[in-house]
């Protein structure tokens, strides 16, 4: 399972306050856990949406590339003694470069065909990448500890907050909103949006669209790699860690619709929180609640919460 361990954080104070029969600190710590999972959903669905916008490819390999980010972080530490902070920058770069190679070598040749072939190709890549990593590292988790600067927890009075989890939420929010800002508010982003809208016309205006496509794919998968490094200290680092996650992220994408950047971020975070609450009130459903919500959204608003029906 990809999810963070669900052990509630021990609470010392304020244990008397209750909400719906659940002690408030327990509820808040589940909320934080939900936000952590939601951060991963947000980063991954954001990457999927950016890639889909320009390439019309659903990148099935996103989960595998997230796993690569985490394993690269572990390899950096184990083989080269590079610490967490170095790998937080290096691993996404490596994953991005790997993505660029995939795009140039394989994906590029499928753009003219039915979109389904992009999905099938990246699905094959998942099997290949996961199989390769598995043949070297097995399926048992590779140990990776929280960086010392973020060890321990902070007592906020109403709850005990583990520092690393707070960092994951903050870091992913910065990256997500940074991406939103670049795409929606800068000139580079305007080119990108133009390329999504009408690639031929954008090219005619002198923008190098094929290069932009390559870099967009590289950036999208680098986001997945970044999420992987963030996940390394709290989730088990192992070759199959991305495969269940990516399916949940697909559901997130269906719920949100891929039309809007902000929509992907908000849907991801929101579903993480809902999942966290489900774990408190009805734990049996916590692994399926996102799918149930997807079914309901499909019945009420098939295009997704933020989507536009094409």
């Amino acid at each position: 399972m990809h999810r963070a361990d669900i052990r509630p954080v021990p609470f010392l104070t304020a244990a008397m306050t209750e909400l719906f029969g659940i002690p408030l600190p327990a509820l808040l710590s589940q909320l934080l856990l939900g936000l952590v999972n939601g951060s991963f959903y947000a980063m991954l669905s954001l990457g999927l949406a950016v890639i889909f916008g320009l390439l019309n490819v659903i990148n099935f390999a996103h989960g595998a590339l997230y796993m690569m980010g985490a394993v690269f972080a572990w390899m950096g530490l184990t083989y080269f003694g590079l610490n967490y902070w170095v790998m937080l920058a290096v691993a996404p770069l490596l994953v991005g470069v790997f993505g660029i190679i995939i795009e140039k070598l394989l994906l590029r040749h499928l753009y003219k065909l039915d979109h389904l072939y992009g999905l099938l190709l990246t699905f094959g890549l998942v099997l290949l990448i996961e199989g390769l990593f598995r043949s070297f590292y097995g399926v048992s988790g590779l140990p990776y500890t929280v960086p010392e600067q973020l060890e321990g927890a902070t007592n906020l009075g109403f709850m005990i907050m583990p520092n690393y989890r707070a960092w994951v939420v903050v870091a992913s929010l910065i990256v997500c909103f940074g991406t939103w800002f670049v795409i929606e508010r800068t000139k580079l982003g305007a080119y990108l949006r133009a390329g999504t809208e009408n690639p031929q016309l954008t090219q005619a205006f002198g923008v190098n669209v094929p290069l932009m496509v390559t870099l967009t794919y590289g950036f999208g998968v680098a986001l997945a790699g970044f999420a992987g490094v963030l996940a390394a200290p709290i989730l088990q680092v192992q070759p199959l860690m991305g495969s269940n996650l990516i399916i949940v992220v697909f559901a997130v994408v269906v719920i949100g619709g891929m039309g809007s950047i902000m929509g992907s971020i908000l849907t991801g975070l929101g579903l993480g929180v809902i999942e966290g609450f489900t774990r408190v009130f009805y734990p049996e459903a916590s692994s399926t609640v996102v799918f149930v919500i997807m079914a309901i959204v499909l019945l009420i608003r098939p295009a997704g919460l933020f989507g536009k029906e094409k």
Binding site: L110, L120, L127, L128, S135, I247, A295
Partner: protein
Amino acid sequence: MPLSKEFVVYLALFAVVAILPFVGAYPVFVMKVMCFALFACAFNLLIGFTGLLSFGHAAFLGGAAYATGHALKFWGVSTEIGLLIGLLSGAALGFVMGALAIRRSGIYFSMITLALAQMLFFFFLQAPFTGGEDGLQSVPRGKFLGLVDLSSDVALYYVVLGIFVLSFLLIYRTVHSPFGQVLKAIRENEPRAMSLGYDTARFKLLAFVLSAALAGLAGATKTLVLGFATLTDAHWSTSGLVILMVLVGGMGTMLGPILGAFVIVALENKVGEIGMFLGRITGIEWFNGLGESVTIVTGLIFVICVMSFRRGIVGEFNEWWARRRAAASA
């Protein structure tokens, strides 16, 4: 009525499969291939003839496998009723999943089917009747129609062959019926089919349910053959495997899925040996463990097929045949 060339090929194939147990083939292996061939044919009805890529067909195979296994083991129903229960549970699951999934098209359709199948997988993981990680073990085969004792592999072999042939004929009939023509029209151009007055959503749902029911029958038969149902049947990797079978054999061809199923099932059985062989001749230790990582090989085949072999074996053969004919008549 003169037999068409196509039917001669089918008859020859049938004759070969029918005598296989007497020429030394291992019946359980061939039965397993037939189950997956039926699964692949059912899947091909959607991808090949309707243009819908379902990424959740494992749900029908796995769901029906559990339903049949449970009915045979705990309710003590007769074999044919057990199979019928599998077929119907596949159809019921297909109806629910299909009704939701056809609300979106293209790539979203694939993602929705995948997500719904994953939901079912988590349900099976927790539900008491599936046996969790262990699966449902030692399912009895019983007697077919109360007459034929199926504990003999050879007797079961011909029952499975019968199920396969009947299902194949049903698919053949469907594809070549007016209904099948509408499905093809939807595959080629859905808006145009709609503008001709066809309720395409209904046609798509019907095709989906039919495909799910036959996939369910494949799962039910598989439980009967192997005597167990496990979570693997319902896992997303099985949905991927059936896509690969159809892709390798040839989408939208009648024989492609059968050939693809044979190639992939045989490969999965032999990958370990191939790895050992490569390890021996190259001296690279890593190859010896290839049997543990079959997905490297299936993944590689996936990539190769998508990049440069999109018609599949049968599709490429038909193409070559047509070109040869054209050259001969010119």
